[in-house]
Symmetry: C2
Subunit: 427 residues, 2 copies
């Protein structure tokens, strides 16, 4: 199947379960399901439109609860065929929702604080959710190569999922990435192509490849498969509510890179309300950025509707998108729900990584330091209500960003004797 940039009505019908069509988020124009991401009318972003009309609430709840311990328990709400759980895929999700009582005490939160810990995914980041979803779309469209541009988590998620599913993978990265990151991406044995240039050059090249016959049969998970890929983030909303006993949290703190994850979590919560799976009551969504890449936070504070791009300079590299595509939608959701968008310094990020590890035994990636740091800041400022149920996302694993806490070391060095032990005051 040839790759298209905009939708046409000639796309053949595919079985992606309840997904009925692609719909433009700007103008509402609908087209058939296909490997397209921009509206032919207005060039707005396309997203999945579903037909959930046949579902009975209690039957649906029972079906979900009887499903597998991964994102496919929500297959009835995702753009995937009915038998998805039996196809070879990385099967992420159903990660732990940790009741973080020690952290709550430190932050002064009394209404219940939870960490949704996505470091438990197969390649230890939330990217497994979106890639698993994109893989099913790629399969439906007859693609044989899974691809992306990446500087980290996404490369590993694409490499692993492609390996499991028997796809070829071809991941593009800047050629001068750190050796450790190259190893993590290369170990799955797909093509790993270094591009002589920076990350912008890599992205520009990928866009060119998608429009070229050389890219035929290629599914770029976050470009021509983006509408499907992005839906993977809805599963975070579903899991949080089901793990709370089919209850909406009052407040959720979500990291912002492109902003897609935050908008899809909001979409997922709204779907659960519409389907009657949770009670319809208000919830507040909070966005978290690092100060060194805080275009959405800056716009929120300035009262702007548009997001002014920034040149990223932060240790939170998995969030370092200076021109976030979904920024305006994030602003809208934060304002509509009564939430906020806030940022923290790199120093606060590191402090928050240590705080989470020390209180809950969870070693988070820098992105997790951002959400925990922002949570602390917003509680102190009285913006987050400490008496309400609050969920904080940790989207990645500290083992991938060891440099952030490289200063952490031995608390004492002693000779192997009890005298030395006592002298060090350890008894």
């Amino acid at each position: 199947m040839a790759v298209q940039t905009v939708a046409s009505t000639s796309t053949p019908t595919v079985d992606l379960g309840p997904a009925a069509a692609l719909s433009c988020r700007e103008c509402g124009h609908r087209v058939s399901l296909g490997p397209v991401f921009a509206c032919e009318e207005c060039f707005g972003p396309l997203e999945i439109a579903y037909d959930f009309s046949a579902y009975d609430t209690e039957e649906l709840r029972a079906r979900i609860e009887a499903g597998p311990a991964n994102i496919w328990r929500y297959a009835p709400l995702l753009p995937v065929p009915a038998g998805v759980a039996d196809k070879p895929n990385i099967n992420p999700g159903w990660t732990k929702l940790v009741k973080a009582d020690n952290l709550a005490r430190e932050l002064g939160v009394t209404g219940g604080l939870f960490v949704k810990d996505d470091s438990g995914n197969p390649t230890h980041s939330f990217k497994d959710r979106v890639v698993a979803q994109a893989l099913e779309a790629a399969r439906a469209f007859g693609f044989t190569t899974l691809s992306c541009s990446s500087t980290g988590n996404l490369a590993g998620a694409v490499g692993a999922a492609a390996a499991r599913a028997g796809f070829r993978s071809c991941v593009f990265i800047p050629h001068d990435l750190e050796q450790g990151k190259i190893v993590m991406a290369a170990v799955y044995g797909g093509e790993l192509v270094g591009i002589e240039g920076n990350y912008d050059d890599v992205n520009r090249f990928c866009s060119e490849l998608i429009g070229d016959p050389a890219g035929e049969g290629w599914g770029f998970v976050n470009v021509n498969l983006r509408p499907y890929y992005a839906e993977g983030s809805k599963t975070l909303a579903y899991e949080i509510c089901e793990q709370l006993g089919w209850r909406l949290p009052d407040q959720i703190v979500i990291p912002i890179a492109s902003g897609s994850q935050l908008t899809k979590i909001d979409k997922g919560l709204k779907e659960l309300i519409e389907l009657g799976l949770v009670e319809d009551r208000p919830y507040k969504i909070f966005g978290a950025q690092a100060e060194g890449c805080s275009p959405v936070s800056a716009a929120f504070k300035a009262g702007h509707d548009v997001v002014r791009p920034q040149k990223p300079d932060t240790i939170a590299k998995s969030l370092a998108i200076g021109n976030p595509a979904d920024g305006p939608y994030v602003l809208d959701i934060a304002r509509r729900t009564g939430g906020a968008v806030e940022d923290v310094t790199d120093e606060e990020v590191v402090d928050a990584i240590r705080l989470l590890a020390r209180t809950e035994g969870i070693f988070a990636e820098t992105a997790g330091g951002v959400t925990v740091g922002v949570t602390r800041k917003l509680v102190k400022a009285g913006v987050l209500d400490p008496t309400k149920t609050t969920v904080v996302l940790n989207t990645g694993d500290g083992l991938k960003t060891l440099d952030a806490v490289a200063g952490t070391g031995l608390t004492a060095t002693i000779r192997p004797t009890l005298d030395s032990f006592r002298e060090a005051g350890l008894a």
Copy 2:
């Protein structure tokens, strides 16, 4: 409570669920539950004796299936109190049993090949299972400090679990460990004490500390809490059988460090048979070592009953125990079940890590390279039957042993142009 090396009958009664007593594996002498690990009669190792007499098979199965998605679903079969799932702990387990069809094709296994992937645990190794168990024993005995000697996975598991449960932790390591390993162990904020000496010096010091008043109130997870700690490995057997649909696998390949894990998996399988939860039919247990530390494999091949210590020299550091305490028991189990013990070179370990990543998208620690490498070798040799259901354990995560595959790199470097892309033969 004072720390004791051998059991006495004066230990107060504690509630550890179905655990009835400690029983000597050598002479069968029984003593009350307490923080002891060696028999007062013969100095043999103590292990938990259970009272399972009250269980009805179908009620027990239903109770397990309705339990949480972690090891506490098996609380009725573990030395833990009934309400364990509600206490603060790291809650490991219920990790994925991956049907490894691609790997099976490469190895020529037709009877069903599965990887039990324990990299999905909270700190990404099977050590979370045993530490979670030791933590509950520590709580029952009134200890307030959790401790161990370690060079890697165990340090992280103890640090994380202690943090979550509100225990003090104090981990002893050789002072000159690699900085990355120190960071992974230190981030949880407990005491991390470097000992001027090698790993043997660290262990010797810990044994001294346990016998000294300075060690009062300290639970050393793999010393004075060892009988409880070791039981955590039984949960691997339970999960494998439940995930196979309450069915025994025909063959299991298990890594050998001290040998404890292998003996406890065998114990777990036997319990499931006795309880009627699985059909009573033969299974074979295979042990896997790295050639550079293969004392059990050497004894197996030589037909010996005793294990001659070796000085370890292998990249599989998490298995590098030259004098494995449970070696003789491992030999007995491998022979009794019709299994075997085999070893592979470091080069084969690295090849096997790559093979597993390339075929199944699972990035294993060196220990996983050992089990997959041994599986490949045993199939080739006709020792493992390729027509039988086979389970291979991956007990750790590749992110912790990146050095093993450090040579992995870019498959191509190109300029950001389609011409350069075509020249590289990537189209």
